[in-house]
Point group: C2
Chain length 108, copies 2
DNA sequence: TGGCTTTTTGGCAAAATTGCAAAATATTGA
DNA sequence: TCAATATTTTGCAATTTTGCCAAAAAGCCA
């Protein structure tokens, strides 16, 4: 019972882990407003194509995104819909943290 | 402009990264129903105390949890409230994935 | 004060992640 | 069929993360 739960948590951790890299989160964030081809994502991040491809594989395996070939390119889209909402929350949290940090600095 | 956004995303990635470890996510999940002392979290995870302590430091630095000393122990609680809702989503996603995988296996 | 109990740190070795470059795979058109 | 385009896979070296042990802090109280 508890073991089953631990397994589920471990699986969920993979999702978070996949999202826990700047380049990958940047791509995922970009996918919030619709699918994009690998080439667009590559341009967004700016890394080597092979690096982008690897990152996308991580996201795919974690179930965060899905891909579909259309014409000459492969298009990626967000699969984990609820992420959209949570990203608003993390963005707000980061902003809040920045504000707090600013306060500390100013109060010196 | 875009650089500012990239920085924000990188900061948010730290939150995901902190959550992207089975032991850490297990502890965070346990905190959903109220604060717990380090000793309780240690028992839950089962690792060495020093390992637990380090994991908690990661979560603290990412702003996912906060701690407060009371009596002889230190109590941790969830700081990133919206996580509660998102964890429901990831749990559902993992379940769904398991179902899909089962289907594939059965259809052979 | 001195001795507990709880938590954090330092030091390390093993394991995992990252990113680039080169090679391998499709696909598409000419 | 060949060449060109788009993407993935491999091989590797550098870096980071993990987790344990021992030792150091820190706080509490008899």
């Amino acid at each position: 019972m508890r073991e089953q739960h631990k397994r589920s948590i471990a699986e969920q951790a993979k999702i978070f882990k996949a999202l826990g890299h700047p380049s990958r989160l940047l791509m995922v964030d970009a996918l919030r407003d619709g699918e994009k081809c690998v080439c667009e994502l590559r341009e967004l991040v700016g890394d080597d194509m092979s690096t982008i491809s690897r990152h996308l594989a991580v996201l795919r395996e974690a179930g965060v995104v899905t891909s579909k070939k259309r014409g000459t390119s492969i298009y990626y889209r967000l699969k984990l819909g609820c992420l959209n909402q949570f990203l608003q929350c993390t963005a707000a949290a980061v902003q809040q943290k920045a504000r707090e940090h600013l306060e500390i600095v100013q109060s010196r």
